[in-house]
């Protein structure tokens, strides 16, 4: 009973904190902008970089654009319809989708995807490189296998949940599906991933 009360109190505090935060953004309070940056900047960057094949610069651009969009359109945000993070990652998701579409239309390799020659000098020692590279190659092979057997949306939901640590409600907001549908998708994606990774070990 006491534990339930504590949870309720905590939820209320969180909601009040979020209300205060959103009010601050609506009044263009610099403190709220700083808080937006510190709360979500890194997560948005990771979210974008993971979907942009590790392009750090582009991911940063997407992150900045997302934060600016959020600051601009915060009056249109309705807390009753979606959690703030779901709304924010939804904006990032739309930016990323647009960017990927743009990249698909490009004929040449984008400058941002090219590795500068001096960046190679900062690479770790050869042994470390070999070890890391082997691990990464193995991980990439397994991920490629998963991508082969899971649909795009299943893979996306899996990444959003496991890596980006987003709740079902937030994921539903981002991919514009029902929460129940996301739950079902996630269950199916997990099952397929277990099967494939289990079979791969044997």
């Amino acid at each position: 009973m006491a534990q339930a009360d504590a949870e309720t109190t905590e939820a209320l505090c969180e909601r009040e904190d979020m209300d205060r935060f959103v009010r601050g953004l609506r009044s263009a309070d610099p403190a709220a902008h700083t808080e937006l940056c510190s709360r979500f900047g890194r997560r948005l960057h990771e979210f974008a970089a993971r979907r942009l094949r590790g392009d750090a610069e582009l991911a940063e651009d997407i992150m900045v654009a997302t934060l600016a969009d959020a600051a601009r359109n915060i009056r249109g945000y309705n807390p009753r319809r979606a959690p703030f993070s779901g709304w924010l990652f939804g904006i990032a998701h739309r930016h990323i989708t647009a960017e990927l579409r743009r990249q698909n239309r490009r004929k040449s390799v984008p400058a941002s995807a090219q590795v500068p020659i001096d960046a190679r000098a900062e690479q770790p020692a050869a042994d470390d490189v070999a070890e890391t590279a082997t691990e990464r190659m193995e991980a990439r092979r397994q991920v490629a296998m998963l991508r082969e057997h899971l649909s795009d949306i299943e893979m996306e939901v899996l990444i959003l949940h496991c890596v980006d640590q987003l709740s079902l409600r937030e994921i539903a907001q981002i991919v514009r599906r029902s929460e129940r549908g996301i739950k079902s998708l996630l269950h199916r994606a997990r099952q397929k991933a277990r099967e494939r990774l289990g079979a791969d070990e044997h």
């Binding site: 902008h33 960057h45 590790g54 610069e57 900045v64 600016a68 600051a71 601009r72 991920v143 890596v163």
Partner: protein, 411 residues
């Protein structure tokens, strides 16, 4: 393996396969600058209530415009009239009705009269309350009649002229636009004289019958007709200066309902009627003239300004005195055929008569006699309904039969 542990393992696998690069130093400043720029550029938000009011007003204006356009294009009003067989248009029995749609594709609907002695004329609805005013006649031609009113459902029937202790003939009730008064024609009973030949006067009576009085001074020989201006401030009527014969009610005047501000209207003829916006008056008049060297008279449908200025003849019919020729003209072109036989008593029905504006004011319906069929019976008086379109100057003949049409009205 638990779901939680599997999720962690999967996250690790995905993070290893696609490691996330570090953020460059100074990213926070960039993000803050972008948000600050947006905050500066953000326009002031209009309060939601103001937005709702503005949008509602715009929608209302749009709906009004659409309604007006639809009304103008498709609902130009319904024209109704009675058709009578007999030498006395408008007299019972044998009435029938016709309806004319806004597109001038008309259909007929015969309404047989009951032939009873008591002849209720169709009630005139009050624009304000919906109450109906009507007259009753106990015989034909009427020797006595009263103005009544009733609720729209037929209840609460009140004899207004009896309540005002007004005898004689009382007819043609016309509600004022605000529903507070009724203008009507009154004729005092005169010993040995048929009432409708004793001279009519325009009267007004309060809607509850408590007060009735003549509009023009009592020494006026006679006044006929009576139409309220759309704003209810003035009445339009014909006045006789010499006698009481209907054909001599040829002076048109406007007056306030108390008869204190009477203005004679030049160029305005018989049965004048206001346009729906009150800026014009349509009437019919007779002007002497000649056609092809033959003397006669032009019966004209004329439109003037509200003060009788700027007369414009829309339609005219040439009448040769006691001869047999008549033409109906629309603009330059003569319509109809010569060879009209007519009796002196019926000359009032030759030529444009009884103009009535359509609800949107772009058409005028009127009556005009057509050449008489010498092979038919004596009383076969062909009075047809015509419509003049003010926008296109087109003249349309609505009816073509051997009946006499009367009582034009648009709805």
């Amino acid at each position: 393996m638990s779901t939680e542990r599997f999720d962690q393992q999967l996250a690790c696998l995905l993070a290893t396969a696609e490691p996330v690069p570090e953020l460059r130093p100074g990213w926070e400043q960039r993000a803050m600058a972008a948000m600050a720029a947006v905050a500066v550029a953000r326009p002031k938000r209009v309060p939601r209530l103001v937005t709702v009011i503005v949008v509602t007003l715009l929608l209302l204006i749009l709906a009004g415009a659409v309604f007006a356009a639809v009304r103008y294009l498709f609902i130009e009003g319904t024209l109704s009239f009675d058709s009578t067989v007999g030498p006395w248009p408008g007299g019972p029995p044998g009435q029938s009705s016709r309806l004319l749609s806004g597109e001038l594709e008309w259909s007929t609907e015969q309404v047989s009269a009951d032939g009873a002695d008591l002849v209720p004329v169709e009630g005139v609805p009050s624009p304000a309350t919906g109450e109906l005013a009507f007259e009753t006649a106990v015989d034909w031609p009427p020797t006595f009649s009263d103005i009544w009113k009733t609720d729209p459902d037929g209840s609460e029937v009140v004899n207004l002229t009896a309540r005002a202790e007004l005898g004689g003939v009382n007819c043609y009730p016309q509600w004022s636009p605000d529903g507070s008064m009724i203008a009507f024609q009154h004729c005092d009973p005169v010993e040995g004289v048929v009432p409708c030949e004793a001279g009519f006067h325009l009267w007004v009576i309060s809607a509850d019958g408590s007060e009735a009085r003549p509009v023009l001074p009592e020494d006026t020989p006679g006044t006929m007709w009576g139409r309220w201006s759309p704003d209810g401030s003035r009445l339009l009527c014909n006045m006789s200066l010499e006698g009481t014969d209907e054909t001599r009610y040829d002076v048109a005047v406007t007056t306030d309902p108390w008869g204190t501000d009477i203005q004679v209207l030049p160029n305005v003829g018989n049965r004048p009627t206001w346009s729906p916006d009150g800026t014009m008056i349509a009437s019919t008049r007779e002007r002497e003239g000649e056609l092809d060297g033959v003397s006669g008279a032009w019966n004209q449908l004329v439109v003037t300004g509200a003060d009788g200025s700027d007369p414009e003849v829309l339609v005219q019919q040439f009448i040769v005195d006691a001869e047999v020729n008549s033409f109906l003209s629309g603009g330059e072109e003569f319509l109809g055929t010569p060879g009209f036989d007519w009796e002196g008593d019926l000359c009032a029905w030759v030529g444009p008569r009884q103009p009535e504006w359509s609800p949107n004011g772009d058409r005028i319906a009127f009556l005009a006699a057509m050449p008489w069929d010498p092979e038919g019976p004596y009383y076969k008086l062909q009075i047809e309904v015509w419509v003049y379109d003010l926008n296109t100057d087109e003249l349309i003949q609505v009816t073509d039969d051997d009946l006499a049409q009367t009582h034009l009205s648009w709805k």
